[in-house]
Subunit: 115 residues, 4 copies
């Protein structure tokens, strides 16, 4: 049940796509800057996944953080090149797969619809 | 021209809707927590608008921040009840209007498609 | 060993106090806005603690998040009233205890030095 | 007048140093990730400065953002290498100058006390 459905005028697939965009935009801008190294990377990954799962219509989420530390203080701030996120949104019977990952040829952390 | 078009398999309208979701999720999670009062609210509003306008496919954005300060230190952290954002995304000839605002009956800062 | 010591001109106690301020300011502005409810609150708490522990001179950190959800979507964005953070910084033999918690009489999430 | 003074047990100089740390930690973790290019960089700089100025005991702040865009979408997310922040805190008659800037030899955005 969706308590906000009356606010929307779109198809179920369009709604799923909108929600996918929201979640990816949110993940990026909430967590970029978080200190990470090998000691906490799994905890941060799990926090990102669990904080997304409790949001509406999230069917599945898999976050990968690629770290390669070399600062003098042995950790780095999470940046866009480190993130690879796979997200599945389901709204009614419409399922959408979205992804965020850094794409070298674009020099950009692209958020896109996988299928 | 969209350098990332080959990564997408969707209609132009679906793409516009996805981009609208990304931008609203980003705005919320980037700026929530920013200190605001009457002295800086217009600057923060303008930063939120201008930082959104430089992102792909943003046709228009209007941010309203409703403040009503009463802390002992004369400012508050920007929270979800203060924000009302109207966003227009255009992808090729498809235009989508989206909005984020706090909705009392949901006790929730809803992001939705206006038409 | 502190690879940055040459950049500082202060006592060890002052350095510890400065680092305590940095960590509390960082925690607040990194995590405010994160979606939380009873299902992910422990994961978020652990991420906040572990992301602080890997930063320089952090001796101990204890984060408490007080949630009391009642939105239509069953989670809330982490806000300043929910947080109670106890932090111990040690620089050489100087130890400082700092805290951030919402103080009703100030209507403010105060960051202060406990002793 | 400081409505929170009773919560502190430290000298005025220590308090100024603590507040300097808070502000630098806050600036970094609030704004890292913000989209920036030449079109909005001055607005973002001003928002960072004005949002800091309204906080307690901030005497002066000067933010510099060094951008050098080259992504396919013509903007970048604000990162730690771009920032150079000079901050003056005054608590009673104690004035402290602090700075955050990326230091190549440390590969780290150092926050330190300038004098």
């Amino acid at each position: 049940m969706d308590p906000a459905s009356k606010y929307f005028h779109c198809t179920d697939r369009e709604r799923a796509i909108f929600e996918a965009g929201i979640k990816l935009g949110a993940i990026f801008h909430q967590y970029i800057g978080t200190p990470v190294n090998k000691d906490n990377v799994n905890t941060v990954k799990k926090a990102m996944e669990d904080s997304t799962k409790i949001q509406p219509f999230v069917e599945n989420i898999d976050v990968n953080i690629n770290i390669d530390n070399n600062s003098s203080f042995n950790y780095l701030s999470l940046n866009c090149k480190m993130l690879d996120v796979k997200l599945t949104i389901k709204y009614n019977d419409q399922e959408v797969k979205a992804r965020m990952r850094y794409i070298e040829e674009l020099n950009y952390p692209l958020m896109y619809l996988e299928e």
